[in-house]
């Protein structure tokens, strides 16, 4: 049976199932107009559900959050809004805690994303070899991603505990003194980065692996005929072919680290977690937002934080895009 679908309108008229009845010219014109309208409009109807849902649950909250950000709104009186203009924004910009949160978010973002993507690339390369039970290895590598943030953070909280934590126990075995991981600025950031790396490396590995399998094997054949070693093949064939994928994972990881919330919240848990530590030493922007909204109850200011985060994210995206363009130019 022929499987090619006749292209609509390709021959100027609709391929009829029955032999077309002779029609009056006026009726025919109307039908063809209806037909053209259907041709042009229906695709929009098909994609409309997404945009309707996005409008209701994405765009509207975004705009409304912006509106709230210009008001004084308290958790205890949601119906009373008092116009304050840009005051909420100037409040957070003058708050040193906000800049602590920006720094922490950035630091944790870098020290988790960079090693994570590099390890993922290496693992994907290894998994791309012919392996016995390759499906098993690929499944196992995705397991951390399938674990919930809550359980991962709770397990790591036990690992990083100051007294009797697993890590301190191991370090003590090698003669290092006890470290209060959660208390220090760098140590707590590292602890959170470790949880992030643990959870997301497998996910990125699978993305890289999928992209690697799309690289034509002729390229590798040709390269090995030219005498390129495995490492040279990786550097000169795999990496360039993966460039768009790498850019994609960088963008996704950047958004992910911007929204980092569960891991720092649960590292200590309770009220300390909700304030990013007793001295805000591991407070991220999302925690700062949460603290302002739910602990302090100032929802207007919290909304302003949300918008500030959006602006920061757009800035980072722009920088990413610029770097990507420069990279492409130099490659060309």
């Amino acid at each position: 049976m022929a499987t090619t679908t006749p292209t609509r309108g390709a021959h100027g008229s609709r391929p009829g199932r029955r032999a077309p009845k002779p029609m009056t010219p006026g009726r025919q014109a109307w039908r063809s107009r209806l037909w053209r309208f259907d041709d042009k409009a229906s695709p929009y109807a098909y994609i409309a559900p997404f945009f309707l849902v996005f409008g209701a649950f994405g765009l509207y909250p975004l705009v409304y959050t912006g509106w709230i950000a210009l008001h004084k709104v308290e958790m205890t009186g949601l119906d009373q809004m008092e116009w304050v203009g840009w005051e909420n924004f100037s409040t957070i910009l003058q708050d040193s805690e906000f800049w602590t949160a920006v720094t922490n978010t950035f630091v944790i973002g870098v020290i988790s994303t960079v090693p994570q993507l590099m390890v993922a690339l290496g693992l994907a390369h290894l998994l791309n070899y012919k392996l016995r039970a390759s499906t098993f290895w690929r499944t196992v590598i995705l397991t951390p991603y399938a674990t919930s943030v809550a359980s991962a953070a709770l397990v790591f909280a036990l690992v990083f505990r100051a007294d009797g934590g697993l890590l301190n126990w191991v370090l003590g075995f090698f003669g290092f003194g006890e470290t209060n991981w959660v208390n220090g600025h760098w140590t707590s950031n590292i602890a959170i980065a470790v949880i992030v790396i643990w959870r997301w490396t497998g996910y990125n590995t699978l993305i890289y692996l999928a992209a690697m399998q799309a690289v034509p094997s002729d390229l590798y054949e040709a390269a090995s005929l030219d005498g390129a070693s495995r490492w040279q093949q990786f550097r000169n064939v795999t990496i360039p072919a993966l460039r768009p994928t790498i850019l994609f994972t960088i963008v996704i990881s950047t958004i992910g680290s911007m929204q980092l919330f569960g891991e720092p919240l649960l590292l200590e848990g309770g009220t300390n977690g909700a304030q990013g530590g007793t001295e805000h030493q591991y407070e991220t922007l999302s925690i700062y937002l949460y603290n302002y909204g739910w602990n302090l109850g100032h929802l207007g200011t919290a909304a302003a934080v949300a918008w500030a985060m959006l602006v920061l994210l757009l800035l980072i995206a722009a920088i990413n895009w610029l770097i990507g363009r420069l990279g492409r130019k130099t490659a060309a």
Partner: protein, 440 residues
């Protein structure tokens, strides 16, 4: 080959369709089931389940009051959901009040939050003054949960008259008096004497033990003894210049400076662990704290703890809670009856006997369970006597909307001094900055 694969593919598709269909049907069925159990109506036999949400320890489980209520009202089952940390509980509670969903039929309120709820959310609660006689309570307790127009949003459960809980065995080893009268006599001059006792203790302290658990506990004890704490009578926040706050902060810094504390944030895991290991000699002890100590110290230290009267002449109250009935609940009438029963003298006395939470209902003070009460865990300390005397002379303190958060913020910065070596001035500045953010 090709054919088998097609067949396999088709059968797999059939299986998939069947599973999807079944799942959908199951979802529909459970959906129906859900809406059935969620409805306002009692089931065919008139049975209802009342939910109660609280935090920390209210003592109802220990006193087996829910079982007893079920015996009295066979058609009512009470289910309690207890949060460990009050700030976490309260945040969720506020959200639930705003959205009107997820609320339990009965909700606990900590005294530090009472004023905020009275000021901003009174409409969300059933008026308990119509059912419950508030004149039975110690007078200042009722004021805490009453709006200007006389609506009562919470029924008083326990109150927190202050005392000092101490370890007899450790005191003995350190060469200090162990008798509760003698200890109280040593503390007669107030909280300064408490620090002096600490220095004496430190000279001969048993290895690995500390005089107090946390300087923030002592700070709270000091602040609680004032009638003006964080807010002035006219409602202005005065946390920066309040005499009580300043005195408490100074004493706390001294305690840290002299290394008299183990520096543990109260109610968190390391604190509980330290109680289990028995490393602290004293804890500033509102009545409800005794319950916490007994719970976390465990059988090993039964009888080794004791209770002495609060330092100084002034009586102090720290904490205490309320039970409220959200107006949007499904069983407001039944919930109100439950609250009335739980806060009646007999039940408050039972809670006191079982868990040591001191009644706010004066009617309970003459009941034998309170009057002659001795806490076995605390070397049979006559707590009924110690607390009842104090409860009636506690001054009515001025409450403010953010008392709870302000107290927590100061406590947190005192913990920072203890644990991280933050300089007192820096800690004070950080606390004020955080509190300005809360109040502003």
């Amino acid at each position: 080959m090709r054919i088998t694969r097609t067949v396999a593919g088709r059968s797999r598709r059939t299986a998939f369709m069947a599973t999807t269909g079944l799942t959908a049907a199951a979802l529909l069925l459970t959906g129906c089931g859900d809406s059935g159990s969620d409805s306002d109506e009692a089931d065919a036999d008139g049975n209802i389940t009342l939910t109660l949400a609280d935090f920390g320890q209210f003592g109802y489980k220990e006193a087996k009051l829910f079982e007893k209520y079920h015996e009295l009202h066979p058609n009512i089952t009470v289910k309690a959901n207890t949060a460990a940390e009050e700030p976490v509980y309260y945040t969720k509670f506020l959200q639930q009040l705003n959205t009107g969903s997820g609320l339990a039929d009965v909700q606990g309120i900590e005294v530090g939050r009472a004023k905020e709820l009275v000021d901003t959310k009174a409409d969300a609660f059933a008026d308990l003054s119509k059912v419950i006689d508030t004149s039975q309570w110690v007078n200042w307790k009722a004021l805490q949960a009453t709006t200007d127009d006389g609506k009562v949003i919470g029924a008083g459960t326990d109150i927190g008259p202050m005392s000092i809980c101490y370890r007899r065995d450790l005191f003995e080893q350190a060469g200090l008096p162990t008798d509760r009268e003698e200890v109280a006599a040593k503390l007669a001059g107030g909280w300064e004497d408490y620090l002096k006792l600490g220095e004496e203790y430190k000279k001969k302290a048993p290895k690995g033990t500390f005089f107090m658990d946390s300087a923030s506990a002592m700070y709270n004890g000091v602040v609680s003894s004032g009638s003006e704490q964080y807010y002035a009578k006219n409602g202005d926040p005065i946390y920066k210049e309040s005499a009580g706050v300043k005195a408490g902060w100074k004493l706390a810094s001294e305690a840290v400076d002299k290394k008299l504390t183990q520096g543990l944030a109260q109610f968190q895991d390391p604190w509980k662990a330290a109680l289990r290991q028995g490393t602290m000699a004293t804890v500033a002890c509102p009545a409800w704290m005794a319950a916490q100590i007994a719970t976390y110290s465990g059988d090993k230290y039964k009888g080794k703890w004791d209770i002495a009267r609060t330092p100084g002449e002034t009586a102090a109250n720290w904490g205490g809670s309320f039970l409220s009935v959200p107006a949007k609940g499904k069983h407001v009438k039944e919930a109100t009856e439950l609250v009335k029963w739980l806060t009646a003298p007999e039940q408050q006395a039972a809670v006191f006997k079982a868990a040591g939470l001191f009644p706010s209902n004066k009617g309970a003070y003459d009941l034998p369970d309170v009057k002659t009460a001795k806490l076995e865990y605390f070397n049979n300390a006559p707590i009924g006597e110690i607390y009842a005397e104090e409860a009636q002379i506690i001054p009515a303190a001025v409450l403010g909307p953010k008392d709870g958060v302000i107290k927590d913020t100061f406590s947190k910065q005192i913990n920072n001094m203890e644990q991280r070596g933050t300089e007192p001035d820096a800690a004070w500045d950080a606390a004020i900055k955080d509190i300005d953010k809360v109040v502003g």
